[in-house]
Symmetry: C2
């Protein structure tokens, strides 16, 4: 049987998971792939760091260059995280013509184009199944399984931490900060949770999926981003009353440009909390699970569901990439499936202002006659129709919530309307607004 | 850009879909894969058959050998169906060293081993993503994406027709024959529906998935099969009352043999209608959709969902296999991922009698005291525990339903118990029994 020698950088959560999975299932993987994987070295930050999975010291080195530059190491597995040294590690390996497996979405998001170019230049490849959706084989599915499809849209719950928080808010009637605390206690959220709850991580992931689907590299700064810090229990409850669940969605949609040659192919790329109808499968994704809905013009709706993060699911994806890289080495086909194929030259991300959605709006208003009339007039003047209204309160003189569901409107018009509404004397707080998705 | 020439056999439902998808998205597929696909010939049964998708007569031939033996044709796409001539077509192509793409699960189920051997012998490959789950890339996911996992179990709703019928029975309160008629009207079911409703099609598919997951070829006759003809509206309703939905499941489970070398690795492989808890995602698969739950020891639970049949979803999978085959031709790596890797020598399918489940039982009994006691005694003597009972009727002297939910028991004990129960004087009809799954 053939053998391939790999070197790893990082023995933290994911690295430990890969080490353990290789130890447990390496034989099985070898008999399935026809190639035995031998782990020769692991670069770590310190020999005596606390680790969930024990790694033999005989494999360890403190210098990542020892892994990358070892002439016996044929595949480099980068699980260090970060975007500065990690970039250097990956570039160094690629320049030596060594294929790299990585789970690092932040690195891809920031430096993807540079890394892909380096891989191409040096006749090697970069594998990143583990960067999106943990153990869900969404990258392979998108670029292999659905290769014959124009992708109409992708809606992804791609951050397990946020899904856990929003799910708990709804199930337990918890406020955001309580649910966050629980997520931190369970190890789902970091002490400094911004990467997750402010939508950065989801942005990295939807950027990668949008790029693969639409064939041009979608840069992070082009992606509209809203996190879930501002989602209140009140909104979770009103949404439920209306038949919806609030989820943090990564969204990539084709907006126009189906046929006319030369016309720019415009897409929407965004991360935001949105109301999803309760009967939709995405509304029912519980706990810290991920789910990605991909709609293709030939295949129709497909959905991929699983654990989107964590030691073991991510290790499962890393192992599949190692097998892929090993096969490509064995068959001398490093570019069989290149890391990224820029197949769309006229691609363009629409500014958020242009994008059309339905909306949920919550106002805090004085409970007196005429308020709804004034709000509706402002919306109507901007061409925005109201589809339903709930006014749960009945406390004359006090402020009460006023919930409005809107028909489709461009974001720019909606923002303008809400600014005007917010200036009304009877409106006592900044209006709260969420998009409503997947209800067609 | 490279070009590959393909020939197709069959221009029926799937063939027409592939022709149309290639025409619409062939350019996109070429720019993604870096290889242009040229369709040279299509073998048909008659030039003037009625077709949903028009195919130019200039491409047609009545002789499949003209397609397979054309020296320009590099990839043969078999979409003729059937298992006799189709076997000949595929074998002829493979013996000429030509890769074959097929959607034919019946052929694979009956002759898989022979075809895989022929592919290996002649240095070529057989691609069959379209054979299970329509457009859902489940084959690739199972053998590539999850390659580092021991598969604990697979539960699949893999027949859209049966799912439509059972879904409609529950949603509309229809009896089986009414729902079947509706499925036939919509074109979901054939005039002769046996292949679907008696579980043959599901059996072919779960057999393929079980073989890939467990590494030995699972033969059709080893798979226990029950269809949905006997499912009555009464059972659908009682199940719902208990919090369950009846679904036709393809089941493949590892039963034992985790560690001891030489010990046979025993699996369960079966198709049967079963009760699934309403909150489980598989219970909520609506309409004619398919969904396949795969539990791996590293990745945890993953689920793949989409349209499992029909012209376009199947075409999507065929296109992805054509791209795969074209890449393997270009890179001269015909066996990069062989059609089947027999990685388990000690594999064995357990007889149905050995397999353990929970059960739902419905009896028609005379409404008089003491009946439950006699039934419970028989079950108890065979070591089968009752977890709950509903006795909805209250009509002394008449027959009423008696619904029992059982704890786990081997099928053999359950069958023996039900035979004894059926002989009781107060039991007026053959007992109805379904397994209960996914409630742990």
């Amino acid at each position: 049987m053939d053998e391939v020698t790999i070197g790893m950088i990082g023995a933290g959560t994911v690295g430990g998971g890969v080490y353990r999975a290789l130890k447990r299932n390496g034989g099985l993987l070898a008999s399935r792939a026809g190639i035995r994987v031998r782990l020769k070295k692991i670069a770590v930050k310190a020999f005596d760091e606390p680790r969930k999975v024990a790694v033999p010291e005989s494999l360890m080195t403190l210098d990542w260059r020892e892994v990358v530059e070892d002439p016996e190491v044929q595949i480099v597995v980068e699980l260090a995280g970060g975007t500065t040294t990690a970039r250097q590690m990956v570039l160094t390996a690629l320049r030596l013509g060594k294929p790299v497996v990585t789970a690092n979405k932040a690195l891809l998001s920031a430096h993807g184009e540079e890394l892909f170019a380096a891989a191409g230049e040096h006749g090697t490849n970069l594998y990143y199944e583990a960067s999106v959706g943990g153990g869900i084989p969404i990258i392979k599915s998108l670029r292999d399984g659905l290769i014959g499809n124009r992708i109409d849209c992708i809606y992804g719950i791609v951050n397990g931490t946020c899904n856990y928080i929003l799910w708990r808010m709804k199930e337990e009637g918890a406020e955001f900060h309580q649910a966050l605390k629980e997520a931190q206690r369970l190890g789902y959220a970091e002490a400094e949770p911004s990467l997750d709850v402010d939508g950065h991580d989801s942005l990295h992931k939807i950027g990668i999926l949008a790029s693969l689907a639409y064939g041009f590299w979608v840069r992070p700064k082009e992606i509209c981003r809203e996190g879930i810090r501002s989602v209140s229990l009140a909104d979770v409850r009103f949404a439920d009353q209306l038949g919806y669940t609030i989820k943090l969605l990564g969204v990539a949609k084709r907006l126009a440009g189906r046929g006319v040659p030369g016309e720019p192919k415009t897409i929407q790329a965004a991360v935001y909390p949105a109301l999803v109808p309760n009967h939709h499968v995405l509304a029912n994704v519980a706990d810290s699970f991920n789910a990605i809905l991909v709609c293709g013009d030939v295949v129709g709706d497909t959905l991929f569901y699983g654990r989107g993060a964590g030691q073991d699911p991510t290790a499962s994806a890393v192992l599949s990439d190692i097998a892929d890289a090993a096969r490509d080495l064995k068959h001398e086909s490093p570019n069989r499936v290149p890391p990224f194929v820029p197949h769309e030259r006229n691609g363009r991300v629409a500014p958020a202002a242009e994008c059309v959605s339905r909306y949920y709006v919550r106002l805090e208003v004085l409970d007196r006659p005429g308020v709804l009339g004034r709000v509706a007039t402002i919306l109507g003047n901007l061409g925005i129709g109201i589809s339903s209204v709930i006014q749960p309160g009945d406390c004359p003189g006090k402020t009460v919530p006023l919930i409005l569901m809107m028909h489709k409107a461009p974001f720019a018009a909606m923002a303008e309307a809400l600014e005007a509404v917010g200036r009304l004397e009877a409106v006592k707080r900044k209006p709260v607004m969420y998009r409503v998705e997947l209800c067609d």
